[in-house]
Amino acid sequence: MADRYSIPITRRFEGLPIIVVFFVLLGLFMYTAPQVFLAPFIYTTFLSTLPPLILLAIGLTFVIGSGEIDLSFPAIIGFSGFVFAVLFKEYELGWLAVAAGLGSGILVGFVNGVLIAKVGIPSFITTLGTQFFWFGMATVLSGGKSYALRGANETSVWQGIVGRPFAGFDGPIWLGQVPMQAFWTLIIVIFLWFIMNRHRFGEHVLFIGDSNDVSRVLGIDVDREKIKIFTLMGFLAGIAAIMLTLENKNYFGNQGQGYLLTAIASVLIGGTSIFGGRATIIGTVFGCLIIGMIEAGLVASGLTGAWVRTIQGLVFLIAIISYLYLEEPQKRAEMAARFGLKREFGRTGSAEKPPVADRQT
């Protein structure tokens, strides 16, 4: 009976299964595409292209961990990117443009939060609506134009956010390609890991994801925390928008569209529960690495780009099913019963037997 209370290995080492999968995939690609994956440049490319995805996925980890969903962040990338780009290029406001871009992201997130927590519309519907609204706003205001930020790399904004700080130094060539956004993202990820795991706010996120009712009874201000969660998401999407715009030195309205599925997939591949209540920042980061690596790896291995989404979708589904199987004993038993693998529900051997007899749920 002792193992009834023991903690599964997946929870004792945060993100362990996905870290293993990551290294297996990495090994696989080193074998199928050695010319790419045994050279340093693919990795410096990851450092400049993955930060927006990681920031979005980290924000989503809080959202999904709290049992909600946000579909509006691609539009935030469009809208915040527009606010930033127009103020940066047309009005030459420099760092003020950065502040305005972040502010607009925070505003959109805050509005989402209020609609969800105070008005009480389910987050799926709210953010589906705001996604159209803000994307439309960005298109209307920009007149559908894109903004090329030529010469941006002369500015302190570009240098500070997406610059290449080691570019002039002696050393290996790849070192000169290490971009600033990788450092910013690393700092934010570490900080938010502490928030999720060690801070009152992170604990509230997980309890809300577990049950809104229990959280209220325990004295958590559920509405206020939800507003904070969506505001954080908006803020991170704002940073991602600015990074993306500066890195590409170009703004275009649907620059965020490709991130919807990849960001959600990264979070769920990482091991954050689709039902809320369990979230892992480390898992999410490795989820992003896997999603990014599949993209580069498949193409480098000689498959066409059309395969990328197919394989990503497949990995996504396999990951979700594995987590269900690994971490939800009740679901595992039901699943087994449905496939006729167990004749009698509940008689599953002590190791995985949930205390069904006297459970209240």
Partner: protein
């Protein structure tokens, strides 16, 4: 049972009633859930709250514990009137009133130590949790207040791994740790196996032995009859009767409740 939380040392016991409701009404839209409830809970008694489904038991304890605010009426805590609009779960906690709900007291996927402290974490001034301290205290509650010794439950176990009776034990142990002067139990034995029910009733007795008061809502008349000092019977939002277990047997109580239904 010596475990106490110094930060919330119990108030000097100079009051007659821990909670007193006067003429409390509660409407949900046009529906009147509570009408004219006047009820006192003494300092060290177990009050059983009984009545059929929809009699208003749950609404009444929600008003008492700050989850719902009454439409009208007055609430006194330790004989002092409180402002009902400023009353909340947090406020009730501050006033040493704790609630143990049937299935809403603990978050399933979270470890026990987080469940003990969520909502009033031990943090530094930036809000970061002192995990080591929280775990130490949780361990102490687990071993000493609840008495889960040698059964394999640790502070890192998740609630989902516990049986129904063990969950109630955790929730009651938590309430006692916070030095609640009043612990409200909402059907703690519902859906429990017989052996588990015994454990829970033992926990309830511990509440009284430690000098606290308890309001106990229960469907099962035999359970509540066994441990309550006083029984308050609700019917359609009103207090219709108050008796002691000595005055009425379980069978008489059952007949009485049935007759209430028929004469409505």
């Amino acid at each position: 049972m010596e475990l106490t939380n110094d930060a919330n040392a119990p108030a000097a016991q100079t009051y007659a009633n821990i909670v007193r409701l006067e003429n409390v009404q509660k409407f949900f839209g046009a529906v009147q859930a509570l009408s004219d409830i006047t009820l006192s809970i003494g300092r060290n008694e177990i009050v059983g709250l009984i009545g059929d489904n929809g009699a208003g038991k749950s609404t009444l304890i929600k008003v008492m514990t700050g989850v719902l605010s009454p439409t009208s009426g007055r609430i006194f805590v330790r004989d002092k009137e409180i402002d009902p609009t400023g009353y909340s779960v947090r406020k009730a906690h501050d006033l040493s009133i704790e609630t143990v709900y049937q299935d809403r007291s603990l978050a399933d996927k979270q470890p026990l130590w987080r469940n003990f402290f969520v909502g009033r974490q031990i943090t530094n001034r930036f809000g970061f949790i002192d995990i080591r301290r929280e775990k130490e205290i949780a361990e102490d509650i687990l071993l000493n207040a609840i008495g889960f010794r040698g059964v394999g439950i640790t502070v890192d176990s998740t609630v989902a791994q516990l049986s129904g009776g063990e969950r109630q034990g955790i929730a009651i142990g938590r309430a006692m740790y916070y030095n609640a002067d009043l612990i409200v139990l909402d059907e703690p034995t519902a859906a429990l196996a017989v052996k588990e029910v015994r454990k829970v009733l033992d926990f309830v007795r511990k509440i009284k032995e430690s000098g606290r008061a308890c309001v106990y809502i229960e469907h099962n008349l035999a359970h509540v009859h066994e441990i309550a000092d006083r029984l308050v019977i609700l019917d359609r939002g009103r207090v219709v009767s108050e008796v002691t277990p000595q005055e009425m047997s379980v069978a008489e109580l059952t007949d009485y409740l049935i007759s209430l239904q028929q004469h409505g």
